[in-house]
Amino acid sequence: MMLTAQLSRRGFLQGGLGALTLAITAKGLITTVWAAESATQKYGADSMPGGTVDDPLVFVSIAADGTVTIVAHRAEMGTGVRTSLPMVVADEMEARWDRVKVIQAQADEVRYGNQNVDGSRSVRHFLMPMRRVGAAARQMLEAAAAARWSVPLAEVKAVQHEVLHQASGRRLAYGELAADAARQPVPTGDGLKLKDRSEFRYIGKDQVRLVDLEAIGKGQASYGMDMRLPGMVYAVVARPPVVGGKLRRFDSARALTVPGVLKVVEIPPMQGAPAFQPLGGVAVVARNTWAARQGRDALDIEWDDGPNGSYDSVAYHQALESAARKPGKAIRNQGDVAQVWAKAPEAGRLAAEYYVPHLAHASMEPPVATVQIKGGNAEVWTSIQNPVAARDAVAARLKLDPAKVKVNVLLLGGGFGRKSKPDFVDEAAIVAQAMPEGTPVKLVWTREDDIHHDYLHTVSVERLEAVLDTSGQVQSWLHRSAAPTIASLFSEGAKGQQMFESAMSAINMPYRIPHVRVETAEVEAHARIGWFRSVANIPHAFAAQCFIAELAERAGKDPKDFALDLIGPARRIDPGTLADTWNYSESPERYPYDTGRLRGVIEAACKGAEWGRTLPKGHGLGLAFCYSFMSYTATVVEVAVDEKGEVRIVAVDMAMDCGPQINPERIRAQMEGGAVMGLSLALTSEITFEKGRVKQSNFHDYEVLRHNASPRVIRTHLVNDDHTLPPGGVGEPPVPPVAPALCNAIFAATGKRIRNLPVRRVA
């Protein structure tokens, strides 16, 4: 007997609400920003499409044999959320983990609440709803047992898959109670009894391994790339090499002679702002991926490059520099930075510019989607961070009611923000529509497709100017950021970063400086600008954290002491007073900027690295820290730089305070992985354009860190496991402090300042 009748049942309301969701998801982050500025703002999960759902009948079912099935409603891309959230439910409901089966939800935010896995929100928004789900299920089982025995509810207790009646020694297994429990009223409000922290069995205990761990090691885990259906065909797409480009003409005759090629399908060009649209081009359909790829190579295509055909990274870098050297739009202004600068002696002035190039996500599994259209319905199997966006894109493409589109979420072979955009799912729908009804089409991106056509991390020049007085105190701080905005994805011609970008480590700097001005410059986007793990925190924190170390040096102070002095004493700052009206869409009361917690991670990372110790020649320690996605991180990197300028990472110490630690072992995994990804972007990764085209194509020229360059030692320090705090994000916060910590370490080792990424080697 199941607690839920049909896990896959879809409410009839969904069609109407789906249209609303489409309007929201098509605008993505932008809507969040507009909403954040309205007077009736909802915060956190309430501000997201679908909000939260905490109905145990939706998430939990119990079979007669006692198997507890828990729905993971958010996609797994490597953070462990498919394990951690069901684990929270199991803990609260006193289910034995070895009797739990996790199943993956289809796209349906009306039923499950928000499913968009980005913004480091999964645990932040769903810890408490999942605790309530589990607690309610536990209480319903207890109520069913008490009724069966005709004893007061207070005399029974759920313990590890059984309900016990202590006085009589009677016990009933969960499987025996399932049918009755499903008929009990769902406890809510004050009637819902969450566990005390001391009663947790799994939360914070590292007792639970990833649900897919064994299957992964055996090659049995199922990723989007692994989807197979009878009669399936495979497609690859030749896309315009320049964003906004179009087909001028093409000839498919030779492609159609390639053995295994079945059909050639034109993909319509992008219209207006890119959003989540396919780029257009020509798809080749074949009996396997290789044949499709050979067919694509045999296409004869002429492209019209369109207005972005002259995009060139060298020229654009210069354009960003000149934009960063002119006054921009002031978004935070206190005191009079200009006057302080004008009056300061040359020796008290410091100005520096920092460059971070475009970055590609390069998840190990490139984008891939399978679509089958049959009898007025469409079914999708894909690895996607935002399943409802995929559903709505396919529904719009096929002119179907969203209720007629099922989206099955398979494991993601990495995501990092790329796979929250469903353009590749839309492409698969276009091709499936061109095939005989019912033909399943798997549309595969090659690595070259992925590198050439990513939604790239922005490219930026950050200019900082500060004035130090004679005692080494910072009197003024100007941060001017010149970078194409993610808003250009949704609004054609949008220039200048939006609040949600500035509020990632630029506008919200909390330092004790009397004169502060933060500006954004207006620059045009010529590529698809997307969000990449930790987003605008990467360039903003890189610049600000390197600059603080430069100021410390000018002031003749230890970088750590200088930073702590700049931060000042522990206090909880209303982000509004920093002109931050976004605050990651979280309530400023629940999530103030807590400088005490920032100090805490700095101390922990420095302690781990033994900051201040004497180092071998050629070695250096560098510190950087960042507040992002409601979590605090600090990193100390130890480098060794040899006489040829080759950089070796000796060790990384990373400290994090994300508040309550639900799955500490997975938090540490994210920190280790964040350290490696941060070092990748710091040391080697760079996407550049020439004639509007991405110059890199695969891992030989878009280099990411490999084993031999990865630090042998990564120490993680988790602090402040405080369940009275609201949870912070974990997936993204480890990345931003890594690159500046590395460059500060290189300075300590060599006396050379690196202001442009990637470092490659020290000249």
Partner: protein
């Protein structure tokens, strides 16, 4: 029609001889444990063994494997070293997204067969052709060391 030996079994496939082994395994034979990552022998996600030696199946044409024994991740459970490595991978909680791990395991198994007690340098030399974008390198190193220790003790402990 080409016959190939995979995990001790003969399989017939009807695709041109230049088709890479990777796509033959995945699309024609439905053996999806071997992953596509780059198509240019740059990332190691597609690593399989040919007569015991690691090869990149994405650049190995079908014509080159006829007459040889291919072992894939699906065959590791029948391999003592493979089992030890898979077990160590679990105990060290190596995987994050997990997509590259089949290839990592295949390379690690051939490393341990060639160098049962690998040094840090051995591990870096052998494993640097396998990219993990999630950054699980420290745990991969720990898992290889653990598997080596376990195997040296004759699988006990």
């Amino acid at each position: 029609m080409t016959q190939i030996q995979i995990n001790g079994q003969a399989k017939n496939v009807d695709v041109p001889g230049e088709t890479p082994l990777l796509w033959t395994l995945r699309d024609e034979l439905g053996m999806t444990g071997t992953k596509f990552g780059c198509g240019m022998a740059l990332c190691g996600a597609c690593t399989v063994h040919m007569d015991g030696a690691p090869i990149r199946s994405c650049v190995t044409p079908l014509s080159a494997v006829a007459g040889h024994h291919i072992t894939t991740i699906e065959g590791m459970e029948a391999d003592a070293v493979g089992q030890a490595v898979q077990q160590a991978w679990i105990e060290q909680n190596v995987a994050q997204c997990g997509y590259c791990q089949a290839g990592q395991i295949m390379t690690a198994v051939s490393l341990l067969k060639a160098a049962p007690q690998p040094t840090d340098q051995d591990i870096e030399d052998a494993m640097s052709g396998n990219i993990c974008r999630c950054g699980t390198y420290p745990r991969i190193r720990a898992a290889i060391q653990q598997a080596a220790k376990r195997l040296a003790q004759g699988g006990k402990q």
